[in-house]
Structures are given as structure tokens and as C-alpha cells.
Symmetry: C2
């Protein structure tokens, strides 16, 4: 049967001051009125029912995430004893699935994406799972770039495998602007993190290529999560598996994928008014203002005569910055007094 | 003896959202931690003691103004029954002074100015009073322009009268930018509203030139304030007296006068940090920001990566605009819902 594993451990600071260590991005209603995690679950359920969805997160976040996705069965929020990047999380979750269903195929994704075309997303996921199941490959879904983004990794498709899949020619991690434009032109795809594999093939590839977690999985066969983490090393699934395997494939997809990397990304992913403004909150007013994000969870915010502004109010804090600066929020937090910036995630 | 009359009736909206109809600009601590009215009184007292200072304002504001200037004797805050521009206010207050001291000379000024050089201000006021007393003239003090301001009236000095005074060649009301630059070059002065006259000469000039209030003053001789206002018409002292009299004089002064016409004016009148930012409030933080005004009476405000921004927080409202737009706040208030904009002054 098909299962899904949602990675939801992030505690970023890119949505400060609204996001905090206990209310991270995946719990914020960034794309609609629902938290991103709930949207992620609802995006999946026409393809994979809630009973077969697992979430992996930190111990601190597990209760809040379980509350935000009440359709998930009890015990389906897996709490990592420590953060260890994506390969240990996916290895543990896939092994947990395999213990219940040795013939499982697994779709893996993140809790904090925004997707514009839900049906398109499911079609790409379905294709990726089918390729993983029929061809016995580990599959990544590549999103067709809409801009020469320098903040993402790219996957370059190789030869056609049929059924919508290609071999993987190479991966390119966070290129500079010129290289990103070049990659976009030559048909490279954004390496989204939407993956598919059978539990059996995933385990076999890890045994062959991923010493960081292979011993942990053997310990897990007779132990538990903490046993697994004690024997595993932090490594990403990209580096620890996809860049090493000879059984990788890529499925191109085009479903309005966005990782919503900063407040400025709301200009892309949320409905904007005719002036290109995204306003969220009951008491937000804009005049002679365009291409701006105004988000208020508290008082009245009035923005007058700005272009490309980002104004965010919540938790007694008002942030005023620009769309250009919003992606570099870390620099700001590094300069703020610890009691103020300390509210951010790790 | 010398007396002073402070005009303090304004209920502008230029400091929205902090200023309101009951807490107008003259009650705000715009230049220091003290309300402008209190600073005005303290600026005067080395020259004219508090016992000889009157304030003219509206009935609505009178209690708050009396509270803000406790050094003034009871009954020295005169409450107009209706707003009627500056000549009726000054005629009434001067007549009130004359009833106690027929030989009085009167200095007239506004409650909502900022003055950089207090001693220089008093020197100019002293000169103006001396000219008024010795030469029997009505005197205006002109401030030497520091920029080709289009929002002010200008007074052009004529021939030298000696003792620091000149005849008045002409007045120019709110010129365009080119004319303002030209006026500045030819030695024209800002028509500040700092005036001096003897009560006797002022009454005589009004009898000769100011029909709008002359009948009112005759009624006041046997009546009271309401009697005076019932018989008077609204007119400014500039139009109703200075532009008509043949006994006008101008005294140039240079004492860092500013009428603080908008939030942006705080960049001129308050101490700025090395990046040119003026920040007011316990919990204001700026980074990579310059030439900006940040004023918070409430929560934490963080401004990151802006130039020329104006951010004001108070009364549950946050205003984000630019120094360029701040002088045009009225346009914003005209577009806001009445319940929000309605908190502004008239």
C-alpha cells in the first residue's frame, strides 16, 4: 500500500516575529486560513488516506502538530529524540511503515510548502510512486523553475525512462544567479524534496550507500527510535542517498510549488489585490502602496505610500522591512537583543 | 509691562495616530519629553513671567492645556466660544491684558513650535517688543529660512529702521518651489507668527483697518468673550491687520524655528543617531535603516533596511509611511474608515 511521510521538524526564524520555536512556519496559516501542515495533509488525502500518513518532528513540536492535524491516527506523529537532518528521519519513518506493511511504497514531503495546483501535485506524486513501484527506483519530483532562484538545489534530468520519468544526470546545490539562469534554460528542475520509493528498495539503497544510517536501521530492527538515533549520523537524503545511488530517477512536475522562504514569498503564494498587495488581518489598511505584505494578528496597521514593504505585527512586536530584506531576517535577529530575538526558532 | 499670548487652539491631524482632538500637537512631547506647550511657556518665562502669560484655545482643550502648564495662574487659559482664526483670538487676549494693564506690550506666539536656540528666541522677542514699545509699531519676527519651504508664508523686509528692525516690503503666502528659492535668495524671511505690539497701538490699528473685529472689541468693552465673538468675523492677523497697516515692522531672527508640520519634521528637530534616525520609545530597534522616524508609545517596533521611513505606533494603531508622504497625511485620513480617521482632530 501507499503511505506518506511528512517532515515537519523545522524551527526556522524566517517568519519572525510571528513564528516561534513552538509555533514554527508549518503551523502558520501562510497560504490560507489553515496552517500549512493541515493543508499538506488535506492535499495528500485524496491520494493517501490519513490513516497511512506519518509526520516526523521534534519532541517539542509533536503535541502542537498532532493537534493541528487531528485526522491523523494517534501515534502517527513521530518525535525525533534529536534533530539529524532528513535521511535519518526518512529512514526511521520508512522503517516504521515497513514494520506494518513490508510491501509499502512511501511518498515523502515537507509540511511547510505551498502548492498552487493540488490535483497537479497529486498527479506528480502518483507518477513518482508508480515509477518507484514498477521500476524499483528511488524517485525525486523536480519542479519546473519559474525564476532563477539561487536559494534552491537543482536536479538535472538525464535520459528518458518513459512514463514521465528520467534518469538523474546530476544535482546542483544553490547555484549563483548566472548558473541558476543557465540551469533553468537547460531544463534543470528544482529539487523539491518530494520523493517516492518502496520501503524495500529504500532500505537496500541505504544498506549499500548510506553508512550514516545503515547501522542505525539494523539496531532499530531490534530496538526503538532512540536506539536508531543513537547509532545514526545526521545527513540529508540528497547527499546521503540520492547523490550516491545508481537507482535514482526524476519525475518533472509543474504544480505551483513554493517553499515560502520568507515573508516576501507571500507576494507569490497568496491572493494579492490589484496593486499587488497581500494583506492579512482584520484591521489592515493600505493606500498608495503596492507589492507589499501587511500581516497583523493584533492591532490596526495602516501603510501609506510604500512599495515593496513588509509589515508584520504579532506578539507585541511590529516588524517593518522590505521584500528585498525579508529573506535576510537572520541578520536582523542576530542584531536584536536576545530577549527579543530569542523568541525565534533555532 | 510685557505680557505674552500663546495661541494653542489647533486640532490638526498631522500627527495622527498619536494626536487626537483632545490631545493635539501642542500637548505632544514632539521635541523633548515635555509637551510643546510646556516648552513654550518655559521658553518665555526668563523674559515674561508665568503670571503675565495667557493661553487662548478652544473650550474642549482648555482643561488639558491648563493641566499641561500648571505655572500659569488660574483664569489665564482663555477658551474661545468658537474657532475664528488668529485676529479675533489676539484681539480678545490683548484686550483682556489691556483691561489689567492699559500700558501693556504683548508678545504673541504659537504653542506648537520647536525652537532650537532658546536664548536667541528671547533676544528676537525682546527686540520685537522694544521696537513695538519705542517706535509704536506692530512687529512681526521673521525667521531666516533654512530651506525653500513652500508650506510657509514669507515676509520681505524693506528699509532699515534701525535697532534690528525693517519696514515690511510685502508678504508672500505659500509660494511654489521656484518662487520660494527666489525669496530665500533675496533675503525674505519666514513669517513665523511671533508678533509684538503695545495693547494701545494694536487696538488703534484694529479700529483703523480691521472691521472684522473692531465692533467686537467695542462690544467687549462693556461685555464678555461670547459678546466679542458674536460680533466678530474670522480673519487671520496677517490678512486682517499686517497686510493693511502702515505701522508694520519686521525683526529678522535666527533661532532654529520650526513649526514641526509633520512626523518628517522630527528628523530636523529631534536628536538623530549617526544614521540620521530619530527613535522615540523604550522598545524601538533599527538596523540598516537611515533618515527614518520611529515613534512607539506601545509595543516593540523593529525597522530593518529602510530609508526615509516613518513608523508610528500608539492607540492600538501602527502607521507606516515615508518622510515624503508624512506631510500629506490628510489624504490618508480621508481614505480611512471614519471610525479610524475620526480620532483625528478637526
Amino acid at each position: 500500500m501507499r503511505w506518506a511521510v511528512i517532515l515537519a521538524g523545522g524551527v526556522g526564524s524566517r517568519f519572525w516575529p510571528i513564528s516561534t520555536a513552538t509555533r514554527p512556519k508549518q503551523l502558520l496559516p501562510l497560504a490560507s486560513d489553515a496552517p500549512l501542515l493541515l493543508e499538506t495533509v488535506e492535499r495528500l488525502t485524496p491520494l493517501i488516506p490519513a490513516e497511512r500518513i506519518f509526520v516526523v518532528t521534534s519532541r517539542a513540536l509533536a503535541p502542537a502538530l498532532a493537534a493541528a492535524a487531528p485526522a491523523l491516527p494517534s501515534g502517527h506523529v513521530l518525535a525525533e529524540p534529536r534533530p539529524a537532518s532528513t535521511l535519518p528521519a526518512l529512514a526511521w519513518a520508512t522503517a516504521t511503515v515497513a514494520a506494518r506493511d513490508p510491501d509499502a511504497s512511501v511518498l515523502s514531503l515537507h509540511a511547510d510548502w505551498v502548492v498552487g495546483d493540488q490535483a497537479g501535485f497529486r498527479a506528480a506524486a502518483d507518477t513518482a510512486l508508480s515509477i518507484a513501484e514498477r521500476r524499483d527506483l528511488v524517485v525525486t519530483v523536480g519542479a519546473r523553475p519559474t525564476r532563477p532562484e539561487t536559494g534552491f538545489g537543482y536536479v538535472v534530468p538525464g535520459n528518458k525512462l518513459g512514463e514521465g520519468a528520467f534518469t538523474i544526470a546530476t544535482f546542483v546545490e544553490k547555484p549563483d544567479a548566472a548558473r541558476a539562469a543557465q540551469l533553468m534554460e537547460q531544463g534543470a528542475l528544482w529539487n523539491t524534496g518530494l520523493f517516492a520509493w518502496t520501503a524495500r528498495r529504500f532500505r537496500a539503497e541505504i544498506e549499500s550507500h548510506s553508512s550514516e544510517v545503515a547501522a542505525g536501521l539494523r539496531a532499530l530492527d531490534v530496538g526503538d527510535g532512540p536506539t536508531f538515533y543513537a547509532a545514526s549520523k545526521a545527513v540529508s537524503v540528497d547527499v546521503g542517498l540520492f547523490e550516491r545511488t545508481k537507482r535514482g530517477a526524476v519525475v518533472p512536475g509543474d504544480f505551483g510549488w513554493d517553499d515560502v522562504g520568507s515573508w516576501a514569498a507571500l507576494l507569490r503564494v497568496r491572493h494579492a489585490d490589484l496593486d499587488g498587495n497581500v494583506t492579512v488581518g482584520q484591521h489592515v489598511h493600505v493606500l498608495d502602496t503596492d507589492q507589499s505584505v501587511v500581516w497583523s494578528e493584533e492591532g490596526t496597521v495602516v501603510v501609506y505610500g510604500l512599495t515593496g514593504a513588509v509589515v508584520v505585527q504579532g506578539r507585541g512586536i511590529t516588524l517593518v522591512t522590505t521584500a528585498d530584506r525579508a529573506p535576510a531576517l537572520k541578520r536582523l535577529l542576530d542584531h536584536l537583543p536576545p530577549d527579543l530575538a530569542g523568541e525565534r526558532g533555532a
